[in-house]
């Protein structure tokens, strides 16, 4: 089990920036641009590690240490959800599906607290925006997980994964389609993809960038790295628990095939996201709530269907 645990953890930590790089490269190619190298996120992280770290005057202890704590939280999540190996590994028993959702919220809360602790007005603005949107996103996330637990009568993501990969027809049930749709909408929101684009410095879209506004050097590198990990974790939960739960192996040496399988699954996800990103326009800031309300509606309908219809 040690081999599986280490494979899963190291895969998440070291390969998550690669998927961001591939995504940027493909997107640029579709937009007829040359685009950065697929290893650009690694170059950025290495560059930032060598840079000087500046701590703003008046910032507190949270500002300095939260990036490490957030990295730790995402490390723990990478061991409790089936993001590579479809059977429980070490530390999996530390939390269930809902526990995973709460850990995601904890990491987000820590990052927001750190941003507020920096003493910057821009960071405070980004934080207030995130909080005003997150109440619906968190509600939808928890409702989706409630619904998933109702399908399999357990709150364990591994059981859900195993149930869905062995019962093919369940993947086409109405309940499952609604939950997949709601979770995908949340994935786009949480990773700041168009139509919700939260990256960039224009004032009206400055949400994620607001959190990192005062960070520099090593701390910024760690923050960027945790963002890559978060994207990988959410995307892999979407792929392995909701969208395409098939194709993963658990025994030695077959589990080594999981690496190319996950890679292919991610190519599929990247393709879908790129199609969405290149065909939809960015939503205005105050429309983000409408988008999240729609995701929440889907998740609640899914909850009703899973309880009443099935």
């Amino acid at each position: 089990m040690l081999g599986e645990t280490l494979s899963q953890y190291l895969f998440v930590v070291f390969l998550s920036p690669l998927f961001t790089g591939i995504f940027s490269k493909f997107k640029s190619r579709i937009e007829s641009k040359k685009g950065p190298s697929i290893f650009q996120p690694y170059y950025d992280i290495f560059k930032l590690f060598r840079k000087e770290t500046l701590i703003p005057e008046g910032s507190g202890i949270l500002f300095r240490y939260v990036p490490y704590a957030a990295f730790g939280v995402y490390s723990l999540i990478s061991l409790i959800v089936p993001v590579l190996i479809p059977v429980p590994v070490f530390f999996t028993a530390s939390a269930d599906f809902l526990g995973g959702a709460i850990l995601f919220s904890l990491a987000a809360f820590l990052k927001m607290s750190a941003a507020m602790n920096s003493g910057s007005n821009f960071s405070a603005m980004g934080t207030s925006r995130i909080i005003s949107f997150n109440f619906l996103a968190e509600g939808a996330l928890i409702t989706v997980f409630f619904g998933v637990s109702l399908i399999t009568a357990t709150n364990n993501p591994y059981t859900t994964h195993s149930f869905l990969s062995t019962n093919l027809l369940q993947n086409f049930s109405l309940v499952h389609i609604f939950s997949t749709l709601a979770f995908f909408m949340l994935f786009l929101y949480e990773t700041g993809k168009i139509p919700l684009q939260s990256e960039g410095l224009p004032e009206l879209g400055m949400i994620d960038s607001g959190l990192n506004f005062e960070y520099s050097g090593k701390l910024l590198a760690i923050n960027r790295w945790t963002s890559h990990m978060k994207q990988y974790l959410l995307g892999s939960i979407f792929l392995n628990v909701f969208f395409v739960p098939w194709g993963l192996f658990s025994t030695y040496p077959l589990f080594l095939l999981d690496f190319p399988v996950m890679f292919l699954k991610w190519m599929l996800l990247i393709f879908i996201v790129i199609v969405i990103e290149t065909t939809l326009a960015k939503l205005r800031l105050f429309k983000v709530l409408d988008y999240l309300a729609t995701a929440f509606t889907f998740s609640v309908l899914f909850l009703i269907f899973s309880e009443v219809i099935v």
């Binding site: 619906l136 109405l174 609604f178 429309k287 709530l289 409408d290 999240l292 309300a293 729609t294 929440f296 509606t297 609640v300 309908l301 009703i304 269907f305 009443v308 219809i309």
Partner: protein, 215 residues
């Protein structure tokens, strides 16, 4: 046959439900009209599916009537009333997040209460199997009501009325034999939706607050 019905009826019914949410969130009058056309067409299609499963010609006639009267005639009459130069005619201040949340509260509360209290003992079309199917017409009905209550434009209110009618027909379609309510609703289609609504829309585009104060 059972499997086909199960596979088709639930998705179509839920698409009807989703179209109701679409109508609720829509600001533009023309999109709402198109939305109700899709909803009615889905309802007509559902009628054909049930008719096919039950080998009952009544459902086919009903399907044709729904498609002709609601999906085409009502849409045509309403579309004609949208002024050509104002194709972007829309209702201001449609707060989607708020509307959806209120809508969900209504849906969840009403459906669970009514379903568990009242509809346990109704006899259904045999192939549908479970009375849980009533969640769709009930939800649609309350959404239609809420659409009327939450909007000021006459267009939106008429579309809310069509939605309620759709809900009644959907409700009645799951029962055997087809009750009188369907014949009544077809009559209402011709009289109220087509004739009256086209006149009302010309006479009064929106209900403003100030009108309440005028004697």
């Amino acid at each position: 046959m059972n499997a086909l019905i199960e596979v088709l009826i639930y998705p179509i019914s839920s698409f009807i439900l989703i179209s109701a949410f679409y109508l609720q969130a829509q600001e533009f009058v023309r999109s709402m009209v198109i939305g109700q056309m899709i909803q009615s067409a889905l309802l007509g299609f559902l009628s054909f599916v049930i008719g096919f499963a039950e080998s009952d010609y009544d459902f086919f006639i009903l399907g044709v009537l729904i498609v002709v009267l609601r999906a085409f005639l009502v849409t045509y009459m309403l579309e004609r009333r949208v002024p050509r130069e104002k194709i972007h005619l829309h209702e201001k201040k449609v707060d989607v997040a708020f509307t959806f949340l209120v809508n969900l509260i209504l849906v969840v509360t009403a459906v669970f209460l009514i379903y568990f209290l009242i509809f346990r003992s109704i006899h259904l079309v045999p192939d549908i199997g479970s009375s849980t199917i009533f969640i769709f017409p009930l939800t649609l009905f309350f959404q239609g009501l809420f659409l009327i209550a939450s909007r000021k434009t006459t267009f939106a209110q008429i579309i809310g009325y069509v939605e309620e009618e759709n809900a009644l027909v959907l409700f009645a379609m799951f029962l055997l034999p087809i009750p009188l309510i369907i014949e009544a609703s077809v009559f209402l289609d011709v009289l109220a939706l087509v004739v009256v609504s086209s006149i009302v829309v010309i006479e009064k585009f929106a209900h403003e607050k100030m009108e309440d104060l005028v004697g």
